[in-house]
Structures are given as structure tokens and as C-alpha cells.
Subunit: 236 residues, 2 copies
DNA sequence: GTTTTTGTTAATGTAAGGTTAAAAGCAAGG
DNA sequence: CCTTGCTTTTAACCTTACATTAACAAAAAC
């Protein structure tokens, strides 16, 4: 029953309105990333892992619709809500064509926005059956219990894992014997893909290798420039 | 999957507003009982079986908070929504302490109220599944009688538990060997999740650990950032 | 051979949890 | 009322757990 904080990407060029809206959403338990224009919005979108996008339609350089189209190319499922000052029919239509999940005219009641967000999230949550819910893994002689965050070797003592250790090992296990792309772990676990998070991840790979040393048939291999591979030798 | 008509108790002294609201809710498929003051509200509450209470805060004789407290004594789970003209901070706090599920400032958008009601009902519906009626537990060498609030070790002396000690231990026992999320205990037992209630809970965890020290096979483990785990080693 | 990427260890800063004691609430009973 | 005893909260201080960053070594790519 773990409640995951929902992440929202807010792209709004009006600094006043943007900040107020961000604060309001933050107060209501959403993790908000605020981008000040379309370019920035797309960059942040690519690097983070969001649950919902709120896009202002009227922005310099890159308008909300164009941005939405780009976002849709990367992710066909993510809910998008448009903010617009104009209640023009064509605009609304254009928005829905790009795949808007909802539409709000400025100025709007912030409570209404909140309700709509909640409704959209819920709707999506029901769809998301594909979201892997596996929390127990056998890795060679190890058992990983990813819900309670511990690892045992041959039924021995339980070693506690930190949240990051746990998620990373789980992600590797989900791709056992296969490539687990760096980018995937970084966007999903660290929720940001940059130099520092990347180094942080390497630190965690080292930690995991230390735990896994107990079983000579289990190892984490690096695929240079690509990611890592959790391999289990099943001979013996 | 039979749909049961939800029953709402509406306590509102303003006859105009009360009637309008009642009609509005009725139109939206709720069965509404309208009480015109606190006394009447409590009488009707005792006699009826409601799914939700909507209480006006400002009422003659008996205000909404007092009424809420009385209702809470009879039923610790029923959702309560307060209506108030004042957006005063103290009022809000007082309300949540009594166990408010939501708060609405008059005048408000009736659509918003409707959505909130829906959301609350849904939330409660999910909780109720896990809400067990078990009141006796075996925890290693201990027996917990949660109705009479005492704990015995190997049939020895009965140690009395305070209400909070009791509820917390029961909540842990309901999740034996599994994660009992911090948030769950805080929202269910303390009815509020903030820094202080959280520290309060830690104090109670310490108390329970002291009681449970008698049996070396029983312990309460912490899962950092998640919650606690009551583990029982069943080897001997 | 130089640059980029990865491996590893240690240092730092922050957040969460543990512990104890004092203060505040609260419900009898005098 | 005021006290008394019990429960709960608040506060202070301490310890542990985590994640990030830095620094340097090793490996791979170019």
C-alpha cells in the first residue's frame, strides 16, 4: 500500500502565475517541476519521469501544442492538461487532437484544477495494469524481497537494503541476464539523468556487487556506454 | 456488484442553504437526512446508519466541532466534512484534530463538494477492505487482548496497555512479519500525519519494544522511511 | 596517448529514528 | 474547585541510515 508521490511537469512562462501554481500544487502533495518555456519543458521532460504534464498554450518560441506533440512522441500515455487564456473553439479542438486529457481556461479555480488532476490520475491508475508489481526475486542463491527491502543468501541472515540499493537491484532483476540501460535506472529511480546522478548510480552498483559477491555465479557486468547486466550462471 | 445508495447526514441550521444543498445532493443520487441543529443532528446520527456527515461549523447551541466529537465517539471511522464561512486557520486545525476528512469554505462550488464526497467515499471503500475486526493476537510468547487492552507473556501477569499502545500494537500485529506503513498508523490511530504525531508514534514504538523485550524472538524492526515490521522468529 | 567512462573508497550533509524527560491534557475522586 | 494519577504530546539531544559528492584509480574507446 505504498503511496507514491505523483510528479507533475508544469510548463508556464508567466513567472508569477507559474510560481503560485507550483506552490499550490506542492502544498497538495504533488512534486512539481516548473519549466519556464517550451524548450526547457522538453528537456526536463526527457530527463525526469513524470505522471502528468500541465502546459500553457501561449508561450514564446515553442507553444504548448508543439511541445505536447513532442512529448507524445516520447510517451504516448502521459496525461496532458492545457492551460489557456482563450476559450476559442479551434484551440480546444486542436488541443484534443494532440491528445489533451483536459482543458482549463485561465483564470480558473485552483480547486477545480486539483480535482481534475486527481480524476485524471485515478483514471490512468486503473489503466496501468502493465505496471510490473513483482517484488520478490530469486537471483542465483539470493532471495530479494523488494517490498521489505532485504536480501538473503541461501536462507541465511537478512541483509537490509537502502531504498536506492533496493530499487536498483530490483530493476536489474527485472532485466536479468539482459541489458538494463543506464538511462532507465536514472530516469526511473533517480528521476533525473545527469553527471552526478550517474556517478551516484555507479556508487550503488559497487555496493550491490559487494553484497552479491557471496555467490560466485552472480555478477553485475558493465556494458560500456549502455548500462549494466545482471548475469546468473546456472551450471554447477 | 450491487450499488448501494449512499446515505448522508447533513447538519445545517440555515434553512435556505440547507434545503438547497439537500436537494442538490438528492439529485445526485445520495439519500440525504437534513438536521437543523446540533442536537437534532446527533439524534438522527444515532438512529440512522450513515456513510458520511456534512456538518456546518457555526450553529447555535451545539457547534459542528462538538457534534463531530460526539459522532466520533460513536463511530471512529465515518467520514466528516465541515462547512464553514470562516476560513480561519484555527478552525481548520481544530477540525482536523477532531478527524475531519475535508473542509469546505462557504460559499463553495457545489460541483467541488460532489467531487470531494465521491473521493472520500472511494478512499473509505478501499480502507474498509483491510479493516479487520480481529481483537486477539498471539505474538510469539505473548497474547494481546486488544479489546480489554492487556498483554500477557506465557500466561503470566497481565500488563495493561494504554489506548495508543494498544492500537499501535494491534496495527502491527495485523501486519505481522510484514510492513506496517508509518502513514497507516498515523492516519488511522493519530488521525493526522505531521512531524509531532510522527515523533509521538516513535515514543510509543519505544514503549512497545520495552514490553516485548521479554521474548527474544519478538521484535519491532524499522524500515527506514517506510514504517515498522513486527517480526516473530519461529524457530526455537 | 589522450579522453571518456566506469570502479571504488571515503567524506560530508541531511533526514529519520531512538531515547528520555518534562510539560500538557484529561478524567476521576475528594 | 483542586488534587491525583494516568495518558499523550512536546522537546531536546543523540545515533544511525542514506544519498551525494569528491577524489583518484582502472578500463575502454578513440
Amino acid at each position: 500500500m505504498e503511496e507514491q508521490l505523483k510528479r507533475i511537469l508544469l510548463v508556464e512562462d508567466d513567472p508569477n502565475f507559474g510560481t503560485v501554481l507550483k506552490d499550490y500544487l506542492s502544498m497538495n502533495d504533488y512534486e512539481v517541476t516548473h519549466a519556464k518555456n517550451g524548450m526547457e519543458g522538453f528537456e526536463k521532460f526527457k530527463r525526469g519521469d513524470f505522471d502528468l504534464c500541465i502546459l500553457d498554450v501561449m508561450m514564446p518560441y515553442k507553444d504548448g501544442f508543439t511541445l505536447a506533440k513532442e512529448i507524445r512522441e516520447k510517451n504516448a500515455d502521459i496525461p496532458i492538461v492545457f492551460l489557456t487564456a482563450k476559450a476559442m473553439k479551434e484551440d480546444v479542438l486542436k488541443g484534443y487532437k494532440v491528445g489533451a486529457d483536459d482543458y482549463l481556461n485561465k483564470p480558473f479555480d485552483s480547486e477545480v484544477l486539483l480535482m481534475k488532476i486527481k480524476a485524471i490520475m485515478q483514471r490512468k491508475a486503473n489503466d496501468t495494469v502493465a505496471d510490473s508489481k513483482q517484488f520478490e526475486f530469486k537471483i542465483g542463491g539470493f532471495d530479494l524481497n523488494s517490498k521489505l527491502r532485504f536480501l538473503t543468501y541461501n536462507g541465511g541472515e537478512q541483509v537490509k537494503l537502502s531504498p536506492k540499493e533496493n530499487e536498483l537491484l530490483r530493476m536489474l532483476a527485472l532485466h536479468e541476464n539482459d541489458l538494463m540501460p543506464r538511462e532507465l535506472a536514472l530516469t526511473k529511480i533517480w528521476r533525473d539523468d545527469n553527471y552526478f546522478t550517474s556517478r551516484s548510480m555507479d556508487v550503488y552498483i559497487a555496493k550491490l556487487r559487494k553484497y552479491l559477491k557471496l555467490d560466485p555465479n552472480v555478477e553485475i557486468l558493465n556494458i560500456h556506454g549502455e548500462g549494466f547486466r545482471l548475469v546468473v550462471n546456472q551450471d554447477a
